[in-house]
Point group: C2
Chain length 280, copies 2
């Protein structure tokens, strides 16, 4: 079985209930971790039209992308941004694409690494977090981030850009922005859209149906609301209703004992449940 692609959508108002950047950072740390544990390949940040959360949206994007970038590439891609003041608090993802430095002689043909292209005269070298830069076969833009595959061994290490089908392991997530939730769900090419909502149907009622659908899907989009407003309220800003979009508007936490569940909590809990459904 090929596991479906997992995508999640979160609002740019997600961290608006935390006043301090330190707390926003912790919250986003949980989100980056949850997405990585369960192999989410795409995170959409959609605009919550009820307010101006542009700065928060930028913070979310910056922090999630920073977490996803291997440590040795962070300095090249992230300047000293205000959003990263508390980046030291972010937990490491510890995914397979965050590789440690190894001796050049241990690199094998076929190994994959994340890198950044550096033009040097008419050659292109790649910084892949090893003790020397590696010559790249092929053309790319200076400063581009890429996944390379090694084509020859030390002392003549060379690499080229890896093809999609060569990347078998989970290779991190991509962060995208969406102008609104309504526009996202109208334009997205996903086989299965699932809204999570306290007002949705209890997951147990449609569990077996859900397992069937999840197994059939090539990609699944899981949508989360904001701390203040659920997906019904958020879509109503665009005169839409989740029920027009999907039959899966699900409360993944039957009989919850707290008045509210935070988005970062709902995300981890829901991903755990969908991961189970995918593997059942």
């Amino acid at each position: 079985m090929i596991a479906p692609q997992l995508w999640v959508a979160i609002p740019d108002s997600l961290v608006s209930d935390s006043y301090h950047l330190r707390e926003k950072t912790s919250k986003l740390g949980m989100i980056g971790r949850a997405c990585s544990i369960f192999g989410v390949s795409r995170i959409y940040i959609y605009k919550d039209l009820s307010g101006n959360y542009e700065e928060d949206g930028e913070t979310i994007k910056t922090i999630l992308e920073y977490m996803e970038t291997p440590q040795y590439l962070r300095k090249r891609f992230f300047k000293q941004l205000k959003a990263l003041t508390y980046a030291g608090l972010l937990p490491p993802l510890r995914t397979l694409h965050h590789k440690l430095e190894i001796p050049l002689s241990d690199v094998k043909v076929g190994d994959l690494r994340e890198g950044v292209a550096i033009k040097s005269g008419d050659r292109t070298l790649v910084d892949v977090g090893l003790s020397s830069l590696i010559p790249l076969e092929g053309m790319v833009k200076n400063g581009e981030r890429l996944t390379v595959i090694f084509t020859s061994k030390h002392p003549d290490l060379k690499c080229r850009v890896a093809k999609k089908e060569e990347m078998k392991d989970y290779w991190g997530y991509e962060v995208r922005s969406a102008p609104s939730l309504g526009k996202l769900v109208k334009s997205i090419k996903s086989d299965l859209i699932i809204f999570t909502s306290k007002k949705g149907r209890i997951i147990t009622e449609l569990w077996s149906e859900l397992i069937d659908e999840v197994k059939r899907a090539n990609s699944i989009l899981l949508i989360f609301g904001s701390p203040k407003r659920g997906v019904f309220e958020i879509l109503s800003d665009e005169n839409m209703n989740p029920m027009q979009i999907s039959k899966f508007i699900i409360n993944t936490m039957p009989d919850q004992k707290t008045a509210t569940v935070r988005t970062e909590e709902a995300l981890l809990a829901s991903l755990a449940i969908f991961n189970l459904a995918i593997h059942l």
Copy 2:
């Protein structure tokens, strides 16, 4: 169906991988929340015998108990402890037993509230977070924390200690200490003991068996390891093996994409899954 009692066991070394009390506090905030969302009624903190984690164990106990205590009672039960330096970061539980202040005239006969007993001459009054202390019918110790039920209305408000069967809503968790994991599992009266472990069987393999057992149980104990050592290693300190204790040693996160999953992440994810199993 009556949902089973949910108990969890965590090691006193749980926060030993965080150096700063601030991070330990955030982690414990997640744990208190996860337990409350899913109605955990008992949290056992067992000693990890591989080191001396006494101070951390105290911190865990203090912070989890502090979170569970309604805000208006916290000053009475918690002095200015070092462990609570960053208590301001703890998220509110927002469970039904954390009640807001309401006008005395809005209190109904049969309402439940958490309170503390205050002896006043030969009378006992209870501070239940309302604008005046409430006379208690019956005998209790001065300073005792209790759950009371109102027996008459304003302006003659009175209450007595509530009986267990009168408490229908989730009413928070109790924190207990255990000398070791081995001793805990040997002495506990639980129908179903479940170990969570990356080295356990994949949950999908025994999902239907698990649902049956969970439905039959009156109480379920879910056991978690530490950041450094799983339940196999921890029990081996006492020459024991989880497999002697239970047939359920479960990896709740099939195909995880990160090298490690933190206990607070595993706790929330696993509780979400067991909550689903209980309600299926």
